[in-house]
Each structure stands twice: as structure tokens, then as C-alpha cells.
Symmetry: C2
Subunit: 310 residues, 2 copies
């Protein structure tokens, strides 16, 4: 794989797997052996939040890291990777549902559709988000099948840490407290390392831990994940001022309107763009140093993160 | 152990362990080897929601089931049980935080204190709840220590299923949809089996799965857990009409005011009280049939669930 067209083919195949798996796993049907399925109304809100939307960047990172590290013949690792890919997307989806609520960002538009609380009401949005987080951990812990329990435990641990108070939720709390506050570049970076970076880096590490990565590979993937995690947010801040709402599928210019600190407000647009390219170079250099053979998908995803239009 | 006084001694010792562990684990300090701790403001809200409050019934059920099933010399099982005890309490605490929010029950008083959103604002309450759920799974998956990865994975799976859309969150969704609706006794029971029962039964099963329970013991504990799970809710409905707010530490009479279906509204007070006693007898009979030797704590807890005053 050597460019944009190849990423398109690679991701087309993986995205189909992920969509199919999410379609199957976010369901009201009771798993065999259980008395209860989930209430249909709750599952409808969960499916609305998850299915048919989003770039699925986090699942693709899981799968690309899995392919960089793992033996393709290892059925347990492949099944773990698909489950991890869906689990990170469920966490991402729940965070958007809660983030859009009136008491947080109060956003009415997401991926070009009414947000979950607009469509289903606030109480249902709250519960759907809560249930999506639980479902993420349920997907990681199948009772049957080829995923070794040690892999299940490791993936749960990585996801919990990436999502929790020292990860995504912690970053959101800092974000909340920093509206209208002047932040230094370091404070801004620390906020984003938690808010967005932790789950992106976590996706990469979860993909790697579907197998048994060696220490060199793991260190390289940590660097790669940290660089693209930060780049993602820098580019988000850039797009908030350069793209329109239709392209973004969400309300553009919102950060500036809300007086939120961003890279663009702190560094200016040109310097932010240069910083994003620098982070891309860091991510690629980490892969160069990794001695991993199959990194083309990870490279293409890094390129996509930095050079995306929405 | 043969009665109320003995339960007091037994639970006094376990509660001290649980409080100490929660105090240590719900913290802003970064675990060794991580760059970030959690933001102090978020952790303050999390600690407010968890520490110094509640009967800790779910942790006690975990520990009692662990003691009924496991070898007391097994350090891995004991450590798993303490972590599981705290994890179920974090899930319970997060559910209360979200349940009290204005878009749900809009309650301002909990355990005699202002609810989390009253004290810290709605956005912080939302995030604190989210972070508490993630922390529950983090506690279950320590990187070091004696808890075997297979136990970690099993506990994560049990907790995720008990908390999610076919468990607690699903029950809350049914509850939400049923305000002002006439329910049959069967529909009411199904709602409570999910809303309250799943996590109470899950606590018992998690305690048992800290070791390797045999099938007979497991079946008995499932029956026991189902009976006390349902009994808990029946008694909750009874106390909502017979106790005052000061005793309950929350607003009494609220279900009736909100036109929520309850056992008392459906069966009447006397029949509800008889039903609670019948469920207690079922729980004790399940233990009798279990061939487990150390069930006194489980028996005393069942008695406490049914004969409590608040």
C-alpha cells in the first residue's frame, strides 16, 4: 500500500467488517443463555448514536496496529482486534452523545443529523451513552470464542484507562473548566492528550495488544499514537476555522464562539498547520524506527488524520 | 455468625476494607508509569459521589459470596474480591449520580447531602458518572498483583453485562418509559430484574467468580442473587411509603408523587410485605440447597435487605 488510493481500498474492507460487527453487536436481542435482551427504545438510541456515521478512525487504528504487530493466522488476535475496534468506537460514540447534551456543549447537529438528545430526549441520551460504555467492555469479554482471557483483560484495562478520569473523561473535565481561560501551549497540549489523544493512542495500543508486541514495537507505537493523537486535535482546531458546517457535519466556528482555547487561537493558523505537519513527521519517524514490517496502513492513517478536509 | 450482631461485626471489618480501598483508588494521583493523573476537580466530584455514604450492600454481597465459595488462602481471589467489591460500588454510585440529574429523576438530596449535580453542576456530574464507570473496569484489571487475567476478564464481563443495556441501564430505560403507565406484575418484575436486580445478582456472581465455583454452587448463588435483587426493590417500594425522608436520606413518597408503578401501588402494602418475606425464604432455601459451607454472611445480608428500615 503506497498512497491514498490504497488506503481507500484497505479501509473499505475493514470498515465493512466494523460496520457489520457493530450492526450485529449493538442489538436488542438477548445473547443465548440470558433471560433479557435490552429494551428496544434504549437500543434504538444506541444504534442511532453508533451506526451509519463517523470516519471510524479509532477502529481503523486498532486494525492497522493489529496488522502491524500480529500474526495474520492468529484467529484469537483477529477476533480480539475486531472486538477492540468496535469497543473503542462505542466509547467514542458515547462521549459524543454526552458531550452534545445541553449541560455540556449543547450541540444540535452531529454528522449532519440531529444529536441523540434532540432526537430521543435528554434522559434517553444519558442512558444510551451509559449503556454504550458498558457495551464496549462487554464486547471485549466474550465467554466463548478464540480470544484468550489474558488478551481480554489487557484490552479492558487499556480501554478503561483511555476512557476514564486520567484519559478522555479527564480531558473533557479540563476542557469544561478552561472555557474563557487563557491556557499556555503546554496546558492546551495536556488537555488534548487526555481528551482526544488518550483514546486515539489507546486504539493503537489495543490493536498491538491483540497479539504480543515486543518492547521496541510497543514503544514506537506509543510514540506514533501520541503524535497522531495530538495532530488530530490540532487539525480539528484548524478545521473549526477553515471548514464550513456542511463539510464538517457539525457546527463550525463553535470553539471560537464559545471562547474555547484552541491551537489556532494560541499559535495562529499558519503555525498550527506547520505543527500538524511536524507531528505527522514524528509519527512516521516512530514507525521508521520500529522495525515493524507492515506499517503502511498506520502511515496512511497518520496522513489522513493530518491532511483530512473534515 | 448467627444473627444481627454477628453481621454487624462481619460487615464492620469488610466495610473498613472497602472504604479504605475506595479512598485509595478514587484518586487524582497518576499511577506509576503514567504521565497524567486525573484532573483534581473531576476527582473531587467522583469522591463526593462515592466516599462516606451508602450501605455498601453490593460490596458486602461480593465479599460474602467470595467467602462462601473461595479458598481463604487464595491471595489472588481475595484481591479480586476487594477490587470487585469496589467496582460494583462505583457502578452503583455512577448510576445514582446520573439518575439524580434534572433530565432523569431531578433529585436534590441523596444520603442526606446535596446530589452531585447540585454540588458541582450538571456537566461535572455527567462526567464524574462517566469516569466512575470507566474506573470500575480499571480497578478490575490491575497490571500487577495476584489477580489472574482470566479472573479479571470474567469479572469485567459480568460487570459490563450487569451494568449495560440488558442490565441496569436497560432497567432504567424501562423505568423512564413506564412513568404513568399501568404495568402488570410481570412487567414490573422484569423492569426491576434489570434496573436493580442485575447489579445485585451480578455482585453475588462476581464474588463467586473470584474463585472457581462449581456448577451447583453457581446455580444456587444465581437463585439467591435473583431473589434478593427483587426483594431489594420490593422493600424499596415499601419504604417509599412507610419511611420518612430523614430515615431514607432521600426524598420519600417520590415514586407515588411521580405516578411511578411500584409493588405497593400494584399489590398493596400488606401483600408487598408478604412478597418480600417470601423472596427472603427463597434466597435462604437456595443457600440450603447449595452444599456451600460458609453462607452465614450471605444469609445475614439477605435478612438485612428484607428487614432494613432505610
Amino acid at each position: 500500500m503506497s498512497g491514498v488510493v490504497d488506503l481507500e481500498h484497505w479501509s473499505h474492507v475493514r470498515l465493512a467488517q466494523v460496520e457489520q460487527a457493530l450492526e450485529r453487536w449493538v442489538t436488542a436481542e438477548a445473547p443465548q443463555g440470558l433471560d433479557h435482551g435490552a429494551p428496544a427504545a434504549l437500543v434504538e438510541a444506541m444504534r442511532y448514536a453508533v451506526l451509519d456515521g463517523g470516519k471510524r478512525l479509532r477502529p481503523l487504528l486498532v486494525l492497522a496496529a493489529h496488522e502491524a504487530v500480529c500474526d495474520p493466522q492468529d484467529a484469537g488476535a483477529a477476533q480480539a482486534a475486531l472486538r477492540a475496534a468496535c469497543a473503542v468506537e462505542l466509547i467514542h460514540a458515547y462521549s459524543l452523545v454526552h458531550d452534545d447534551m445541553p449541560c455540556m456543549d449543547n450541540d444540535v447537529l452531529r454528522r449532519g443529523k440531529p444529536t441523540v438528545h434532540v432526537q430521543f430526549g435528554q434522559a434517553s441520551a444519558l442512558l444510551a451513552g451509559d449503556a454504550l460504555q458498558a457495551l464496549a467492555f462487554e464486547l471485549l469479554t466474550p465467554l466463548d470464542g478464540p480470544v484468550p482471557p489474558a488478551t481480554q483483560a489487557r484490552l479492558c484495562g487499556l480501554l478503561a484507562r483511555a476512557a476514564g478520569s486520567a484519559g478522555m473523561a479527564g480531558g473533557q473535565a479540563i476542557d469544561l473548566a478552561s472555557v474563557g481561560q487563557p491556557l499556555t501551549e503546554r496546558q492546551l497540549r495536556e488537555m488534548h492528550e487526555l481528551k482526544t489523544g488518550a483514546l486515539l493512542q489507546g486504539s493503537v495500543l489495543m490493536g498491538a495488544h491483540c497479539g504480543t508486541p515486543n518492547a521496541t514495537a510497543l514503544a514506537a507505537l506509543e510514540c506514533y499514537g501520541a503524535a497522531i493523537g495530538l495532530a488530530f486535535q490540532v487539525v480539528d482546531d484548524i478545521l473549526d476555522v477553515t471548514a464550513d458546517s456542511a463539510t464538517l457535519g457539525k457546527t463550525a466556528g463553535k470553539d471560537a464562539d464559545n471562547n474555547k482555547p484552541t491551537y489556532v487561537s494560541l499559535m495562529g493558523l499558519r503555525a498550527s498547520q506547520a505543527y500538524a505537519q511536524q507531528l505527522l513527521a514524528q509519527a512516521l519517524a516512530a514507525l521508521d524506527a520500529s522495525a515493524l514490517a507492515h506499517t503502511l496502513a498506520l502511515r496512511a492513517l497518520a496522513d489522513m488524520v493530518v491532511n483530512r478536509a473534515s
